[in-house]
Symmetry: C2
């Protein structure tokens, strides 16, 4: 399954270049399992979800530890009609056909309850865009229901769900929600 | 037609709160024509596209003029299945049924050629997500073709098109591309 992210890190400090460059080094342990391409706007990550999300979490954690106010902006894709399925994306955990929505929701709730949550406090906004299905609203409302029951739900906003809590839990939740 | 945006401004300076608060004052001339709600993560704008995009442009311009390196992140929606059509969104310019894709593309190219382009240099990444249609890839590729012929095309990236040029032209282009 092709999965991928375009991510940008925004440290609110005059030394933003230094913070970004040092945070990018947090991706080094993942470079054999992810395709990584950085330019002056964003970094592309291509690889299986169980590697992609820990890589993003570690990059954010290194930047946040500097004490600068930091935002990580990420657009995460599951599949892409114009991209071949990259060999690096093969996932033993996440192959095969998708289960029914209710089953995915219960499995995601069980997984998030078990997720370790080291990290600093973080706030996030999450939106799911579902294309190429006849039931995109069912999928979106199913995901919103999962977020509300996840333990890090803050409140509903227009076009997104606001999450808040420990950054480890917030990243674990994003990983699960993106697999919906 | 309901149109709306969730926007966040990220000034890369220790005085990010001061830059954001002064930039938000650039929205004051639009407050009678837009519904505006700000919290500590983002600002919601609801209103017709011909007001929404100039408001975003002015907010960005005020922030950029401080000299701080600034990013404006925006998710812009056309329509929303869960929202009533807000009276404030009524657009005399943009009501009625949508024209065929090729006609919209040509009209957008004519409009972007006439758009005034005052402003500072800016780089941007643009993605279009089309839900609830049987031809979402046709719409996306039609929009990418428009961006390539627009005069501010930089290059194609995974999942987005990179634009570069005068910030006035980049905002005008976003307005047109979001209407696809």
């Amino acid at each position: 399954m092709f999965s991928s992210a375009q991510i940008s890190l925004y440290p609110m400090t005059g030394d933003f270049v230094g913070v970004i460059m040092s945070a990018l080094r947090a991706l080094d342990p993942y470079r054999d399992r992810l395709r990584i391409e950085t330019d002056d706007i964003s970094t592309l990550l291509v690889g299986p979800p169980e590697v992609l999300f820990p890589a993003m979490r570690d990059l954010y954690a290194v930047a946040a530890k500097t004490g600068a106010h930091c935002v990580l902006s990420a657009v995460i894709w599951r599949g892409c009609p114009s991209e071949p399925d990259d060999e690096i994306c093969a996932s033993p955990q996440l192959g095969g056909p998708r289960a029914p929505l209710d089953q995915r929701k219960e499995e995601a709730l069980e997984a998030v309850a078990k997720a370790p949550a080291p990290g600093t406090p973080a706030a996030a906004q999450f939106s799911l865009y579902v294309m190429d299905t006849g039931n995109h609203t069912d999928e979106i409302y199913g995901c919103i229901d999962f977020l509300k029951r996840s333990g890090v739900f803050d409140r509903s906003k227009n076009f997104c769900t606001r999450l808040g809590g420990n950054s480890g839990a917030v990243f674990a939740l994003h990983a699960l929600a993106c697999l919906f």
